[in-house]
Amino acid sequence: MRVQIPLIITFIVGIALIVAIFVPHDPFHRMNEEFSVYFDLIAVFAFILGGGNLLKIHGNRISRRSRDWKYSIVTVVGFLTMLIVGAFKIGGPPGLTGDVTAEGSWFKFMYDSVFVSCQATMFSLLAFFVASASYRAFRAKTKEATLLLIAAFIILIGRTPLGHYMTGWLPQQLEFLHIPNLSNWILSIPNMAGQRAIMIGIALGIISTSLKLILGIERSYLGGEGK
């Protein structure tokens, strides 16, 4: 029963949502939206589970003085501080309807001054990682990597004024060799064809996986065997 009941729910909800795509009549046309609301409700309760788990894991690490336990103190202090400041709306309009992100509230101050800065720092790492990953990917070790390198070079140059200057002198008959034109051609023809092929595969994969879930062929996500 532990697996059967979720399977029955999955089947009924899955079929209802498929029907809702083709039937615009009540009650089907509102189902997608309404089931999303149910999902949000469940997710809100699950969030308590997540917060509890975070405290438990890091609490254990601190109490057992496990490896790198000091980092866990930072995590727990950060989590509790934001939770208390937000829950009690310190510095902001009080009451249930008070806006937790109102100007002057401690929550907003901490969010803008600490959280956003940290987030931006992590995101900025991306620029460096793009450079290092590109360096590895574009090393012309194989035929495929060489092609990738040439394509990337043309696109990079074609997107800058340098591309215009380099081949801007070409006569009209050879305009297709103008680097910005080559760059656009690579993006809109071979690149687009490849992307569409991937998208078709993804769409088929999603349909197949969804059917497996609805028909109960795939059930490992329920803690059951896929048989």
Partner: protein, 424 residues
């Protein structure tokens, strides 16, 4: 010839007398209080009137329930006024008037620019009669069409614009179910090798030999994303291997529901290979919902624990490259799989193996070796074969039509395009 002299001596006496009277008459009238008002004076002037021609009203006006919708909408169509000629400004636009009674007061509900021939009225109630008039707007006047109606908005039981989608879905469903049954009946089905999936065994073995943990990231989306579900089904297979090899597995997640589901999945995987003793709830732990907070935490785990193997299976966004590059920097063997086309290049560049798009969804079937799951993969292949066939036919038709200019070929090409145009 001398120029005409302006001297008054050349005017005749009667003319001078008339000028004097004309000049003095306002003064005299002002003194007697009999000066006429400006408006009254205007009426005495003869100004040629601007004639605004009568405009031809819109013809063939129709109002009907918008098809294939959930109600609440009436479509009004008409043929434009014959005076609505491109390049002229006689027609300023059209107005749509509505009433709930053919003889009642018609209220203007909207206006549309010149040359428009359709309006969708989405401010109506279902199962109520509505009457419409369409007016052509001139410079000063609006000329109204005949009243049409009643039109009643109703909910439809089938969206006929999605017939093609239904047809495609039915073919795919039929193919998948057919192959599942064939596989169940014992028919041997061939599926091609996917190097990324075959490398899973090797990757888990490597971690076991090195005595280092394995890190599994099931994406950063929740359980309502099918990629996360696909990621967790792969986690089940990886979990069985780590249970057999007694290798440490760590699954940091960014959603609470994924944590709960991941735990159930892993618990069952360990149980199925007879090693429930090795399972612990702490293997799947929640970090944060915040994208870059999650990245910081996972990067920290990588740098501190230096896992031998990293799996990235699910939906990823900008964090994909940060995670994969950090994993690369600690020397981990990395296998990624995602159906996010924008993140695939990053994984391809930074990981050892990448499951591209559909391979992510095929992986769980491939790894499980279950005949029903493999049957579903064959059904998926039928869909791909159909897609390839129609792409090829469409490309040949469109090219031939473009080169020859043949109407039949152009028509066939357009028909095929419309056949596969999905209306959502």
């Amino acid at each position: 010839m001398a120029p005409p002299d302006r001297d008054c001596r050349h005017f005749s006496k009667p003319a001078l007398l008339l000028s004097l009277v004309l000049f003095l008459s306002p003064v005299l009238l002002l003194c007697t209080g009999n000066l006429p008002e400006a408006g009254a004076q205007e009426t005495t002037l003869t100004i040629p009137a601007i004639v605004h021609p009568e405009l031809a009203t819109p013809t063939n006006v129709e109002a009907f329930d918008s098809p294939s919708d959930q109600g609440g909408s009436i479509t009004i169509t008409w043929e434009e006024s014959t005076d609505d000629v491109p390049g002229t400004t006689l027609v300023k636009g059209y107005v749509i008037l509505r009433s709930e009674s053919p003889t009642g007061d018609f209220e203007e509900i909207s206006s549309v620019p010149p040359h428009a021939e359709e309006y969708l009225d989405t401010s109506v109630r279902n199962n109520t009669d509505y009457y419409y008039k369409v007016g052509v707007v001139g410079a000063e006047q609006t000329f109204l069409s005949q009243t049409v109606g009643p039109a009643v908005a109703k909910q439809q039981w089938f969206n006929s614009r999605k017939v093609n989608l239904l047809f495609i879905a039915l073919i795919l469903t039929f193919a998948i179910i057919l192959y599942v049954f064939q596989a169940k009946a014992g028919k041997k089905l061939y599926i091609r090798r996917i190097s990324g999936i075959e490398a899973v065994d090797e990757a888990v073995g490597r971690a076991t030999e090195m005595g280092k943990p394995i890190l599994f990231i099931p994406g950063i989306q929740d359980m309502d994303n099918v990629q996360t579900v696909a990621g967790l089904t792969i986690l089940a297979s990886v979990g069985k291997l780590t249970a057999q090899y007694e290798t440490k597995l760590e699954v940091p997640v960014s959603r609470s529901l994924v944590m709960s589901t991941g735990r159930e999945t892993l618990k069952q995987a360990y149980l199925s290979v007879g090693r429930p003793d090795l399972y612990s709830d702490d293997m799947v732990h929640y970090v944060t919902d915040e994208q870059f907070g999650y990245v910081a935490a996972v990067d920290g785990i990588m740098v501190r624990e230096k896992p031998a193997t990293c799996f990235y299976m699910g939906a990823f966004f900008a964090e994909s490259l940060i995670l994969a590059e950090t994993g690369n920097s600690v020397g981990a063997i990395q296998i990624a799989g995602t159906a996010m086309p924008t993140q695939l290049p990053f994984f391809v560049a930074a990981c050892d193996y990448t499951l591209i798009g559909e391979e992510l969804f095929a992986a769980s079937a491939y790894l499980s070796g279950d005949e029903k799951m493999i049957g579903s993969l064959k059904g998926q292949d039928v869909g791909k074969a159909i897609a390839m066939f129609f792409i090829l036919v469409g490309a040949v038709l469109a090219t031939a039509a473009s080169l020859s200019g043949n109407e039949a070929l152009t028509g066939a090409s357009d028909w095929l395009r419309n056949l596969f145009t999905l209306n959502f």
